[in-house]
């Protein structure tokens, strides 16, 4: 037995794709559709996650400084606040700046504050941004324990709402992703089964003339490789077009929502799609022909 002629196997794989045209079309279509569904869902969850992260990063804790402290003493607390774990950064706001902001906030009603400019009705304060909103309460307590901090306003309700939303989102994402992957595997394996079932007689004849399992398998490997890679590549192209079209539609007339730029994830997505198509194509055909080999 001499070495295998891989050029022959490759040629046989290509010929088989065309001679079983409909089944090849079905296999590519199913791989394309499943990858497109999973890809679209992934992009959707990435975008939601990004929007939530933006909301998360704008959530702040206000720490009021004891009015007995001088301006320089109040400023010196900042370094201790920044050293606390989970604090991303903090901005010191003097009572004068706070008064200006408050006046602006009141708008037409700002006359209520007239004459109070020189009165110490407001405190110096820190606007503190944190990394993980789920630890808001814990971080607030640590800030409150710093000497010179009179009160902390942690906006716990907003933090809790974001945390709850993120938890629900990740649970839904995992469950739906698992269902989608499961459904895709089921559909793809059935399609592959159908394509190989179509060729059980061919396999039996090959066995009868003395073909080894490897000899029978190689053309299927090449065929699975070509179909899988083709399905993966087409799914990537379709995903790109559909996503950009959708983003264009959403972006028209508004700039409030930042969406994930496809260019930033194009390479990993292309690689994942091709690998997924490759594994499904080769794995599917090799696993399914196994049962027809036992002749």
């Amino acid at each position: 037995m001499k070495g295998y002629d891989f050029l022959y196997f490759f040629r046989e794989g290509v010929k088989s794709i065309f001679s079983h045209g409909f089944m090849s079309f079905a296999a590519v279509s199913v791989i394309l559709a499943c990858l497109l569904i999973i890809g679209s869902f992934t992009l959707l969850s990435m975008n939601i996650d990004m929007i939530v992260s933006e909301a998360e990063s704008s959530t702040e804790i206000i720490a009021f400084v004891d009015e007995k402290l001088s301006l320089s003493e109040a400023r010196s607390i900042g370094s201790r606040i920044n050293r606390i774990e989970n604090v991303a950064n903090s901005i010191f706001v003097t009572r004068d700046q706070a008064f200006e902001e408050y006046t602006e906030e009141l708008g037409e009603d700002s006359y209520l504050l007239e004459g109070l400019e020189d009165e110490p009705i407001l405190r110096h304060r820190y606007r503190i941004f944190i990394e993980d909103v789920s630890l808001t309460e814990e971080t607030s307590n640590k800030i409150y324990s710093i000497p010179g901090i009179a009160r902390v306003n942690p906006s716990l309700e907003i933090s809790q709402a974001i945390v709850n939303f993120k938890n629900i989102l990740s649970a839904v994402t995992y469950i739906l992703a698992a269902i989608l992957v499961g459904v895709s595997v089921f559909i793809i394996s059935n399609t592959v089964k159908l394509t190989t079932f179509d060729r059980r007689d061919e396999i039996a004849i090959m066995k009868m003339v003395g073909a080894t399992n490897a000899f029978i398998r190689w053309p299927f490997v090449f065929e699975g490789f070509i179909l899988g890679t083709l399905g993966g590549s087409l799914a990537f192209g379709a995903q790109w077009l559909i996503y950009n079209y959708t983003v264009d539609k959403i972006s028209v007339g508004q700039t409030l929502i930042n969406l994930v730029d496809f260019q930033t994830i194009a390479v990993p997505m292309l690689v994942l799609f091709i690998i997924a198509g490759f594994i499904v194509g080769i794995g599917g055909s090799v696993l399914t022909i196994r049962k027809f080999m036992k002749v």
Partner: protein
């Protein structure tokens, strides 16, 4: 050489298909294996090709002990045995040439050998002029000749023809039997399984008659009287 010694075969469902068979076919012989449907003829073919293993006894085919053969060695056994079926079993998507060629590919033959040998064998079976046709474009007799060419291409020591004329008219049947005789005259052992009385009776060959999983007669020039 094919040798059965005290062979029994019982299927998983308990059916006893072969009940103690002994016979020997020497190299270069031409024999008919005859018997009614369900007598065990096809089981014997499957034992020779390694598709089944004996429950008891020994089956030796061209030096291979089928009963103790590892699964990975079965392809090697099959390369010494060319099989021809009643329903031809050609690959519909391959041309006549490709159907014969791929049997050589299976054993790892190089391209030069393939290019030299396939036309010779197609010429032997009289199909050189139809090498680019697909099976569905051929008559039954022609399809069977492609199957014979495929069985012959690797120069097997034994040819087993399982009801080779079952789907053919009398004229085409005689052509196929003539071809098998010709192959036998070139030194290949031929075992022909059939239940066609006329063919058996027209030739003076050794006839092994099977019934109920047992050999009921084994004689040269045996008359098909079942």
């Amino acid at each position: 050489m094919v040798r059965f010694s005290g062979v029994h075969l019982t299927y998983g469902n308990g059916t006893k298909a072969i009940k103690g068979i002994d016979f020997r076919v020497d190299d270069g012989e031409f024999i008919f294996l005859i018997g009614p449907s369900g007598s065990g003829k096809s089981t014997i073919v499957k034992l020779i090709t390694g598709e089944l293993r004996p429950t008891h006894g020994r089956v030796i085919v061209n030096g291979f002990n089928v009963g103790s053969l590892r699964q990975s060695v079965i392809p090697k056994l099959r390369r010494t045995v060319g099989v021809i079926f009643q329903d031809f079993r050609l690959i519909e998507k391959k041309t006549v040439y490709e159907n014969v060629e791929f049997a050589m590919r299976v054993i790892g033959a190089d391209r030069r050998n393939i290019k030299e040998r396939v036309p010779v064998i197609l010429d032997l079976v009289g199909l050189s002029h139809k090498k680019n046709r697909f099976p569905h474009e051929l008559s039954g007799g022609e399809q069977q000749r492609v199957a014979i060419a495929r069985a012959l291409i690797n120069n097997p020591r034994t040819i087993i023809a399982d009801e080779p004329t079952g789907n053919l008219d009398p004229v085409r049947s005689k052509e196929i039997i003539y071809l098998l005789e010709k192959i036998n005259s070139l030194g290949t052992t031929v075992i022909t399984v059939t239940h066609e009385r006329d063919i058996v009776n027209s030739l003076s060959k050794r006839v092994i008659a099977i019934d109920g999983g047992r050999i009921i007669s084994d004689q040269i020039g045996g008359y098909f009287a079942l």
